[in-house]
Symmetry: C2
Subunit: 422 residues, 2 copies
């Protein structure tokens, strides 16, 4: 199938979430993405979650559709090979994504001597080059302190590695922007961003820095409440829990109307001298509003409430745990065209997401499993580095490169593909 980025080749030297996600995002749009790793696998080769057989569901999730080569990067020849893969010719190649902090042979200055128009996108921990991960950036900026049940003093981390996910997507945009510029000017580019800067910028964009600097206010924990307007969770008669949104005027008026609480809300407005038509007033009065609405939810089951809300065009959802969501939500199954049920070696068959983006003029590439470490070592040395079979064979013999079944690779033959038992 032809994805929108078909023909583009990107080389990825990475571990963990952000850059693997960036490479996969490009692969799921049709690019040929080559991830290189050391012989024993990268730092994320066994990252949790893992299946009972020890195989990493994390690796399987973040490397779908890439090609994998395993190289001994401690050896001079291994370094040369990786350098050749990164700087290989091709108008739509010369694109390198990385979060490995390798000085010297793998930096932009060195690599761009071999391919002048190389675009290298590097994700750092912080702007000073210090290590940082989502789990450390988040506390340092204040998010866990603002997360949790009101009144609690325990910090709570977000479960989603959100900064990684945002940084990875921004790395994709940066690469595409730099490639756009290269097409016009022929210039390569050394592109840098850091996980902490991505998070710090977002704090500014969302007004949180302004809130402190202008208002002198530090936002407090508010559980599941929608910040700055109205949105709250309610427990229904059947014990199920529902989130409902009163962010816009329409949503707020609709919510008051379907719950039949116009009179009570009107009295609350008089009592508090607030116009609850203003979103900020709804935020200030949120606890009182919730008390007024509670009985309506407590008297009805979640299904009835859902039907009523849908009919009124309200914005709502039900709280579920991951298990229930995966088992019950058709949007998390192959009923959603984004998902395809896929057999994955060592893991079995389950729904695997393709790109969330649909382009009208190009296909959404089919879901592909993640490669075994080194699964494409041989073909990459052939079609990207351009080595003859014999030389590829001796690289395997010398332990410079590896493939999943390298130990039964017969170096003597001129037809390694046929001779390999796998």
């Amino acid at each position: 199938m032809t994805g929108i980025l078909n023909g583009m080749r990107v080389v990825e030297g990475s571990a963990f979430v952000a850059i693997p996600l960036a490479g996969m995002t490009l692969a799921q749009m049709g690019a040929d993405v080559i991830r290189f790793d050391r012989l024993e696998g990268g730092l994320d080769a066994h990252r949790w979650p893992v299946a009972p057989n020890g195989k990493s569901l994390f690796w399987a999730g973040l490397n779908k559709g890439k090609r994998s080569i395993a190289v001994d990067m401690k050896s001079p020849r291994g370094k040369e090979l990786v350098t050749e893969i990164i700087t290989a010719p091709g108008e739509d190649a010369g694109l390198f994504l990385t979060n490995l902090r390798v000085r010297g042979w793998m930096d932009h200055e060195t690599l761009s001597k071999l391919r002048k128009d190389l675009i290298m996108v590097s994700l750092l921990g912080d702007r000073h080059g210090r290590p940082a991960v989502d789990y450390t950036v988040n506390p340092s900026l204040g998010f866990p302190d603002a997360t949790g049940i009101p009144g609690s003093s325990d910090p709570v981390a977000h479960v989603l590695p959100a900064w990684d996910c945002i940084a990875g997507n921004l790395a994709v945009s940066s690469l595409l922007a730099a490639e756009r510029h290269r097409l016009r000017t022929g210039q390569g580019q050394d592109v840098e961003l850091s996980l902490k800067d991505v998070a710090a910028a977002m704090m500014g964009h969302l007004g949180i820095i302004g809130e402190v600097a202008v208002n002198g206010v530090t936002r407090e924990k508010s559980g599941t409440a929608l910040y700055g307007a109205y949105g709250q969770d309610f427990i229904c008669a059947d014990g199920r829990r529902i989130m409902v949104i009163g962010l816009t005027d329409r949503q707020w008026r609709g919510l008051v109307k379907v719950t039949g609480t116009q009179d009570a809300i009107g009295r609350l407005e008089l009592l508090l001298h607030l116009d609850l038509g203003q979103e900020g007033a709804r935020w200030e009065a949120r606890e009182a509003i919730t008390e007024i609405l509670k009985p309506w939810f407590a008297a009805r089951g979640a299904d009835e409430i859902g039907k009523t809300f849908d009919a009124a065009g309200l914005t709502w959802s039900e709280f579920r745990d991951f298990g229930r969501a995966v088992r019950e939500d058709p949007d998390l199954s192959s009923q959603n065209p984004m998902f395809q049920d896929l057999d994955q070696p060592g893991l079995g068959r389950f729904p695997v997401p393709r790109s969330p983006v649909s382009f009208s003029q190009t296909d959404r590439p089919d879901a592909c499993p993640a490669p075994e470490l080194g699964a494409h070592t041989e073909e990459i040395l052939g079609d990207v580095v351009g080595l003859p079979d014999r030389e590829i064979a001796s690289l395997f013999d010398d332990g410079i490169v590896a493939a999943p079944h390298k130990h039964i690779y017969f170096a003597a033959t001129h037809h390694p593909k046929q001779a390999r038992v796998s």
Copy 2:
């Protein structure tokens, strides 16, 4: 200054986080981004946080560097104007980002009749076109149920609208990918993604769907612990709280070494029959590990610990609230070249983030304030729609368009810029 996307023009019809963030990301890379709104402002015109004078810090944060036009989109002439802005000629124009759900005149089919190669990127709530916001997508997929203090049954929302931030960045990549394709083929494109699909795909990418489908496991709340390896918060002798990471082998060995807990950790391994060199074993034994490490932290102040950890090259950070982070962290000030102190009308002077991405061959555009609603109405009608001054003046007179000071606009003149009092 010349940003990497200089020359590109993008039109944005949006509200709230994702698409405004997408437009601003492009603007901060140098694109000319035009946001159109109805006369009274979009749904996010007054979104919290707001300054004491009612001015929205949220609007100021998410619309920096854009041009703003205010148009009465209920009037046929207003619709025409917006259509002309979206479909205006220019090789690097014809790019439209939106999350407004306007059927008919503002859909791709209609607009592309006027500009065949139009690229329109639409963000929906869910793939069915139902409304959804970050606050509803998150509960439905299970994240709040997995967030919080272990043992608690209260769901906790993430404070960062992470799905919006990810979707906005993916909208940017999608637009750049589609424009890349247009350059090669001349084809326009109708591009769609939904907030819920973005989140559902990420659940798959991170292995959470596999964890349920393959392992039959629903992840439980784990506070601030680093999932699947070791990472935990500790309270220091001075009451300050520190996060430390033992994700990689190097980090783990370093942590055990600097805390002098080799013997105790060795005894724990014997006791539990676990090899704590394995990241999964560290996760399983995390509570016992934390008990062993606690006294070391409790006996030292945070500053001493930080120095020790830095010297050992460990990955750590301190927990702070938003206030302390903004006041104390130089990375959140103009000491960080990403930030510039900026005077913003009605808000004052505080550090404003530019793009987190630095490109070696092009400038990082200076920080710009967000426009007042309609601040560029007149110039956009001139330089994009190509209307003569007289016609622009009568559009103001007829109330079809607005500017911050439209009520004192003198329609009779041929030199509206000079005649306007502002």
